[in-house]
């Protein structure tokens, strides 16, 4: 990925940006928008869990904070949607920093870190579900008011480009980090904390930076979700489902790789849709497939889809585009 630079990123973005010109079906565009929101969520996870090796089971904490802060600012205080977005991302980053500060300072790693992040997300979910200010169990609804300044669009294509813009920013951030000192130090921390420390890496600072950026990206995804569906409740925004989506996509696409989350998200959801087509609308059938895929990836393809492609020798001419066509 490093040596190819930005070329594959540009190809992926261009292919997706062009879809509205070739595809008129609303359900396909809906699908792409939803998967892009998942991709952005997963890009956040990938930075911390993939590149940095700190697997979180609670990225819902950041997704939900982004969605709730933006929703409360807009619905209760009449703040402009774009300003709310910026503030919500900042809040997400702060929540990330706080959770990181508490857990990393306590030296939690591996399974312990996974569990404590899960617990933080659950605490936030229960609070959001029980507090009147956050709309309680009824959730929060944004008033439908189409317009650029409200970040609401009548055309699905427009929202697709917006989401794609965010995913593009996520890709560029990931790529820049991969080629930077911070990226190298983050990988060093993943591989061996003691050795990294001996080489002058401030392990705590590196982890904190990673979880802060990670949380900001995932919080942005929460905002996008809100703008698209105009409704959230505690089980959506802080639910376990989004924590699982956040980690599944990079695991399946290629853990720690820049294109891992987007490839993984489209592969998984493409598989899910295909299963639904074949098996009918049986509830839970797509998730069953995700679970099976996760186990299979861990067992047989630890490098994910990209790792498999590499093994198959397709690395010389990397063409991520066919991947995406398969998913559409």
């Amino acid at each position: 990925m490093n040596r190819l630079g930005y070329l594959p990123i540009a190809l992926v973005l261009a292919a997706l940006a062009a879809t509205p010109f070739f595809v008129a079906s609303n359900s396909v565009l809906n699908f792409i928008v939803f998967v892009l929101i998942i991709t952005l969520t997963a890009q956040g996870w990938n930075l911390l869990g993939g590149v940095g090796g700190q697997s979180s089971f609670g990225h819902a904490a950041f997704f939900g904070t982004g969605a709730y802060v933006s929703a409360i600012l807009q619905a209760r205080f009449g703040v402009n949607a774009w300003a709310a977005l910026a503030i919500a991302i900042a809040f997400g980053a702060v929540v990330g920093w706080i959770i990181g500060f508490l857990s990393f300072r306590a030296g939690l790693r591996g399974s312990y870190f996974a569990l404590v992040t899960l617990a933080f997300a659950e605490v936030l979910r229960i609070l959001a579900n029980a507090t009147g200010f956050t709309g309680g169990a009824a959730g929060l609804l944004l008033k439908l008011d189409i317009g650029f300044w409200n970040m609401q669009f009548s055309s699905r294509a427009a929202f697709l480009w917006l989401a794609l813009g965010f995913v593009g920013i996520g890709l560029i951030i990931s790529q820049r980090i991969a080629n930077s000192r911070f990226g190298a130090q983050l990988v060093a921390v993943r591989e061996n904390e003691d050795a990294a420390r001996a080489l002058g890496v401030d392990v705590l600072a590196v982890k904190l930076k990673a979880i802060t950026v990670s949380a900001a990206l995932t919080a942005a995804a929460g905002c996008l979700y809100l703008q698209y569906f105009l409704y959230i409740d505690a089980n959506i925004a802080y639910g376990l489902w989004i924590s699982v989506e956040a980690l599944l996509a990079p695991m399946v696409g290629g853990r720690g790789l820049v294109l891992g989350p987007i490839i993984g998200a489209f592969t998984l959801h493409g598989l899910g849709e295909a299963t639904k087509l074949l098996a009918g609308r049986v509830p839970g059938i797509d998730l069953t497939i995700y679970g099976v895929v996760l186990v299979l990836v861990v067992a047989f393809a630890p490098g994910g889809v990209l790792g498999l492609l590499q093994k198959l020798g397709l690395r010389r001419r990397p063409r991520p585009v066919p991947q995406l066509k398969g998913a559409e």
């Binding site: 190298a184 990988v187 061996n192 420390r197 001996a198 080489l199 890496v201």
Partner: protein
């Protein structure tokens, strides 16, 4: 340059290091030897900041660094290698060394150039693009050395870089260490390979059961009966002398 003063380290009831002191002056190459379990690696961990001693003081270039975290010490110019090599398995050789180089070069191009230069210096020039996990034991030892060297240390602490190597590999790496020292890097090394210690070190400290029992030139230290007993057991020095007398 480095001054360790009466350092004691207790783990629960176990005293790993007891009132140990040592000094390393600038430009020197100093050995730290002693039988297995003497506390050498513990002392290294204390100097590098991985452990905080129960008592005593560590100072570097005149400043007390006893409570300082490891990465700050690295910035001051203290680098160490690990007895059990710790490569970043998911990275190739160049990227491994670059992690060290990034300490003083924020830019990735600079850091990678620096990493390549260091790799050539320790004889890893041909392996730059190999995954670190694919290196042989000797290669990993060189990588360990290269990474530490890439931080551009003033004091380089080597924890048994020669252990596990065969005689020809040792013959290859000894000149590398000497060259590093000639470039002005002060070296403190734990070593079991006595031939290399005699060959390289000017001054040797001997640690046994957590205490410093002797110091001096390699030759003096080897002749010291206390040192011989520490390695070979009580009464050994006397027996050896008697045997020598018998032969003469």
């Amino acid at each position: 340059m480095l001054n360790v003063q009466d350092v004691t380290m207790r783990f629960g009831g176990l005293v790993a290091v007891s009132g140990a002191s040592l000094t390393v002056s600038e430009g020197a190459i100093v050995g730290l030897i002693g039988p297995n379990g003497a506390g050498k690696t513990t002392l290294f961990a204390i100097i590098a900041g991985f452990l905080k001693p129960t008592a005593g003081q560590v100072s570097f270039e005149g400043q007390d660094i006893t409570g300082e975290p490891t990465h700050i010490r690295a910035k001051r110019g203290i680098a160490r290698t690990f007895q059990i090599v710790q490569p970043f398995a998911g990275l190739n050789v160049r990227e491994n060394i670059a992690v060290g180089a990034y300490l003083r070069h924020a830019d990735s191009v600079d850091a990678h150039e620096r990493a390549e230069a260091v790799a050539h210096r320790v004889g890893l020039g041909a392996d730059l693009d190999k995954p670190a996990a694919s290196l042989t034991v000797a290669g990993r030892k060189r990588l360990e050395l290269a990474r530490a060297l890439a931080t551009e240390p003033k004091l380089l602490m080597l924890d048994e870089v020669l252990a596990g190597l065969n005689p020809s590999e040792i013959r290859d790496i000894v000149p590398v260490i000497r060259a590093i020292r000639e470039d002005g890097v002060t070296i403190l090394m734990i070593e079991h390979v006595m031939q290399a210690v005699m060959n390289l070190c000017e001054h040797v400290h001997v640690l046994a059961q957590g205490r410093m029992i002797a110091q001096g030139s390699p030759r003096e230290v080897c002749a010291n009966p206390q040192v011989v007993e520490a390695y070979l057991g009580k009464g050994a020095a006397e027996r050896l002398r008697a045997e020598e007398a018998g032969h003469a």
